[in-house]
Symmetry: C2
Subunit: 434 residues, 2 copies
Amino acid sequence: MSGPAPDRPVSIGLLGCGTVGSAVVRLLRKNGAEIARQTGAELRLSRVAVARPDRARDLSFEPGVLTGDPAAVVADPAIDVVVEVVGGLEPARTLLLDAIEHGKHIVTANKQLIARHGPELFAAAARAGVDLRLEASVGAGVPVIQMLKESLAANRITEVAGILNGTTNYILTRMAEDGSEFGDALADAQRRGFAEADPTDDVEGHDAAAKLAILATIAFHTPIHADRVYREGITRVSAQDIRYADELGYVLKLLAIAREHDGRVEAHVHPAFLPRAHPLAAIRNELNAVFVRGDAAGEVMIVGRGAGGDPTASAVVADLVDVARSHRRGGHGRVGWDGLEARPLRPMEEVETPFYLLMQVTDRPGVFARIATIFGEEGVSISAISQKSRGADADIVMITHTAREGQMRRVLTRIEALDVVGTVRNVIRVVDGE
Amino acid sequence: MSGPAPDRPVSIGLLGCGTVGSAVVRLLRKNGAEIARQTGAELRLSRVAVARPDRARDLSFEPGVLTGDPAAVVADPAIDVVVEVVGGLEPARTLLLDAIEHGKHIVTANKQLIARHGPELFAAAARAGVDLRLEASVGAGVPVIQMLKESLAANRITEVAGILNGTTNYILTRMAEDGSEFGDALADAQRRGFAEADPTDDVEGHDAAAKLAILATIAFHTPIHADRVYREGITRVSAQDIRYADELGYVLKLLAIAREHDGRVEAHVHPAFLPRAHPLAAIRNELNAVFVRGDAAGEVMIVGRGAGGDPTASAVVADLVDVARSHRRGGHGRVGWDGLEARPLRPMEEVETPFYLLMQVTDRPGVFARIATIFGEEGVSISAISQKSRGADADIVMITHTAREGQMRRVLTRIEALDVVGTVRNVIRVVDGE
């Protein structure tokens, strides 16, 4: 038995040849023949657009392949598929729209572009009858988009929750296992190449929010823009929060959660206490993981490397194989972002979760009662409350039962106004159940 | 935006309507309209073959749908796809070959059939130009076949390791967490519906071996028959082995492992000590998990429900969607089992692994030395050796460095002949590294 014979090789134009781009080139050179043998997809890299084609580089190309003109690549009649690994919104958006106009299929790793201009790009692709594939835009070596769109196609998805950023997961793992503070763990991550010199995109949750926007769009069939995802980063998390999490049986993670609830979708990225037995609690260091709940399959979790040249190239080339198979059959199989319907997002004030609070109070009789009274009046039940130190400035740690965000915000405003409360040091959402 | 419009509904003939079959029927009824909206695949259940069509059942069907004659279903010109959830080798094999002859696409959940007659069935499908899909045959709600064949299509796979049987994982979890012996944990699993009245297929590893045969065939592109998978079950595992595993930092699991090594493939199912930090060590109760190592993606793990009507139906209907999309486009996309090449299997004697040994010895000076001498003479290095009890019958627990199976068998023959050794109670392979 052998795979179906291809009509002709599929011709690829690559935009960008940095870490991911050169990993794509190396992967095609290393495994291209075997990929063709197994899948029937013969992938030929025809042109590579880079900023400085004359610069010395590790990879060598045949004459005429490297170019400094990406616009010429997307317009080249010999190119079948454009792979975009440049990143950023512009000129990536314009280049891809031009490529689509010229009838090219698209494979992109650009999460911010898809999470912000996905509907525009997919609509253009649908009009032009070309494929637009984006596995590499979420989770690199974690093939969650294929899982959601194909393996779980029979399911109504009710929840997608994940550790979608390796940098912050590495930092939080170091803080938990070494007891270090955020700044030291960040510096360690930077030394090891897990964090950028400017870590804002990761530590403030922008990266995870863009990925969650894409996953939620696919899972719930409604367009969700990255800016509509509620977002808190990990810069306020302290070693103390993580110690208290551990004492209470939890692990602290930066969690990206999207759920459907009464026809509305909620989507939020923030630090969260996870029960130690939760499957996501065991995901350490730079690994990513996505947990999906479907009405037929139940819970499915996929774990892998969320970043890096090779894992991202693995996703890009898998998409290329898929596009090549579809292209060879004379038409697009699916745009990949079908049947979206605008739906209201659930406002964060209405999202329900238990909370952990760490606050500094004056250590004198009656403090617990005054705090507890405010919780009671706002309808928030307390699950546990304990004083962690004594003296003028004592720490109080609390875990509430499930409450609405809006209720908790009212509680916080009133508690912070109390003369016996110094500062509320942190408020962290808790994931209940397994 | 909306999905592509289908030309006409895809007509399904279902063989079998037990737990899985009725879950397929319910899932199509519950989510069929939404599946059609999202994927363009309109799936119509036309005929259902059961042993006793006149028996009272929970599901009701339109007149003419239920039949006692599966041969009529596979020959029915109005049927596009035959779904086989009967199980067993015959008549399933003959029915599917007939269906293929009649030009039907096939979706099957039958692991033993594929692991034994896969090459014959796939060759027939390739000749007839029809799809044969089998996601449900391995891991039900764990979509590992799609991951291997599509998401990881760009990778050279070097290892597939998994917990592929929920019954045994449940039993081993209970033994580890409750300290119970095998028999009690099995009885508990039977009470809860996780084990059959005759548990042989699960506890002796036959079920896991068939699934591993399928995964290894796909991962390494070489046909591997279920009977060629080396197999040991869990009936000899004692609570004591699990306690010693815990003391040494390991978790005991029934592991299915396939690896490529110097161009040859090894495939074996047996109890194994896993380091506590290994991703598979955290998989508890009836969950299944598969860990795949690819040269580009790195390690990817997928976790989910490995059995049950709904998770299996989720996989069956996902395959139906895929077949419907391919059918609508006028031809088969891929047979699913392409480019296989016969390759030699690595004999179990040459497989390398560290070992755990538990043996009963006479407690007197010189025993350690006599045992250690035999290990040394056979070239097996000892990593740790300790005496666990004193008295006439002392327990000795050993962990070796990596050794070939053949070496260890020679060691065992010589040790068992020593007058100071009572019995070697168990020998269990150890997975090293993370």
